[in-house]
Amino acid sequence: MGMREYILRRAISSIITLALIIALNFFIFRIMPGDPTRTIVGDVRLRPETRELLRQQFGLDKPIWVQFILYIQNLAVGNLGVSFQYKGTPVTEVIFGRRLTNTLILMGSSIALALIMGMILGVIAAWKRGSKLDVSMLTFTLVAYSMPVFWLGMLIILFFGFYLKLIPLAGTVTPGVEYSNFFDYALDYLHHLIGPMVTLTIIDIAYYFLIMRNTMLDIFTEDYMLTAKAKGLRDRIILFRHGMKNAMLPMVSVIALTVIYLFGGATLTETVFSWYGIGRLTYESVMMADYPVLQGIFLVMAIAVILANFIADIVYAYLDPRIRY
């Protein structure tokens, strides 16, 4: 059956890409010019013997091929190594747990909101091309696209946090506060979520809007749209049932692509808002040269992206009846 073959082919392709990335992940960090032992103990004059002991402890003295085999073996059992900056905490503990959850909540909510709003606005703007709505949305898109995402974040904190005092200035929750129940905690969390989420959403809406609009404009030239109009159907039905349903096909691929882009956006946004997530962890780890954590983050992100693409391909095949046969 066509569908099964298709899924199999895509799965193999994804696995190959994943393997390449795992290899790449390993070797990049071995080219590093800096000396990781410095991170572990801070900038203290170490006696060469102590340094050598440290290197042995972290397995940095063995030949590179042996290290690679060890790395793969560890990977297979889910051991991603031990963090340098969080002395001895396993990388898996550092990344997974609170941080990953926070980033997923941030990315998930902004994608969802941006997607719904962006797509609907895109469809309407394409239908009423040249109208005030269309032109103003296009302008907004252009401006949002040109803004550096971290600058937008700073502006939002400045206006809504500092001047209007509507949102908190940083963090995921108010520090040092104890919550009597989950509801209060959730409320505080959401209050802190608004800033970074709005920032990411604004950038995302622009992107989804533009793609949807252009896709719809292409679809308007198709014959079946004229047929739908000739049937005397209501505008709404023509647009959404006939037009948008076809537009969803390319959109699915686009959404998968934006997940890649969003990791970068999340990194910057989390740094600006001091959001306790993977993005901020990346930044901190870069500053502290904590290579095990960076390796882990990179792996997690790459897996997420490959997974997103794989799912997108499957969904695409599911939506497009022509592919299954």
Binding site: D223, Y224, L226, K229, A230, K231, L233, R234, I237, K245
Partner: protein, 324 residues
Amino acid sequence: MQVLEIKELITHYSTTEGTVRAVDDVSFDVGDGEIVGLAGESGCGKTTVALSIMRLLPQGGRIIKGKVLLEGEDLTSKTDSEMNRIRWKKISIVFQGAMNALNPVLRVGDQISEAIVEKEMTSKAEALKRVNELFELVGLDTSRIKDYPHEFSGGMRQRVMIAMALACNPRIVILDEPVTALDVIVQGKILDLVKDLQKKLNLAVILITHDLSVIAEICDKAAIMYAGKIVEYGQILDIYKNPKHPYTEGLISAFPSITGEKKHFVSIPGEPPNLINPPSGCRFHPRCSYAMDICHKKEPPSVDVGEGHISACYLAEAGFKSSR
């Protein structure tokens, strides 16, 4: 009573290169249960006539003058929402290249039933019953209602389009090049189907095509178009036996006959004219082997040469005799 009357229709397109005078003073009628053929080369304005009737002209297209009377009602003055109520219920259309006119991501049955549900306000279940009937009517296997367009062959897709066009029992259907992309055997079957529908449903049809042999097979009347104008119009037999316009003669003799004596193959020299700047006088004069002085000075009037047979040629009046 005429189902459709087109009176002096003029439709122009405004483009960046200029105004295209696509339809320039076109008039013809379609009677109850009549199949009228609209013939001519590509680009002569046939599809524009169809789009004008349905008021589906693209951006830049406008009906400048004239009337389109559907059962007495003038369609040219209606608003879009008024037209929406009329579309598909009283008049429907099967577009050229029906292969692509079906939405690839929707099931065929749904595309047909949607029209019924929306326009006749029935439930989906009732609509699907009607879809079954329509499928039988056009000779399609009813088990295939849940299939997608790409699963059908060209000929079958055409039948689907016809079934869809008949969904709301319109008085008249426009078929734009319904058999052009099909092979000859399938062509014959589709034409038989149309003739059959005419008999069963008393359906009026406008059949648009560039292929005169198709017109000859099933049409009752024919209007021959050239460069946005109707050059000849009348009962099909009159036109065939007694063409009263050089262009019609050219079209007819462009087909070699299997029976009869071997003759020289006569094709019409030259190219269809540019409709932004059409030729002066009679638009056909640059390609006409009978052209006279007056032909490129003044446009010939349409004259009735007997029993509703109309021709727009100076020679028609003088008793044009085809040299066939």
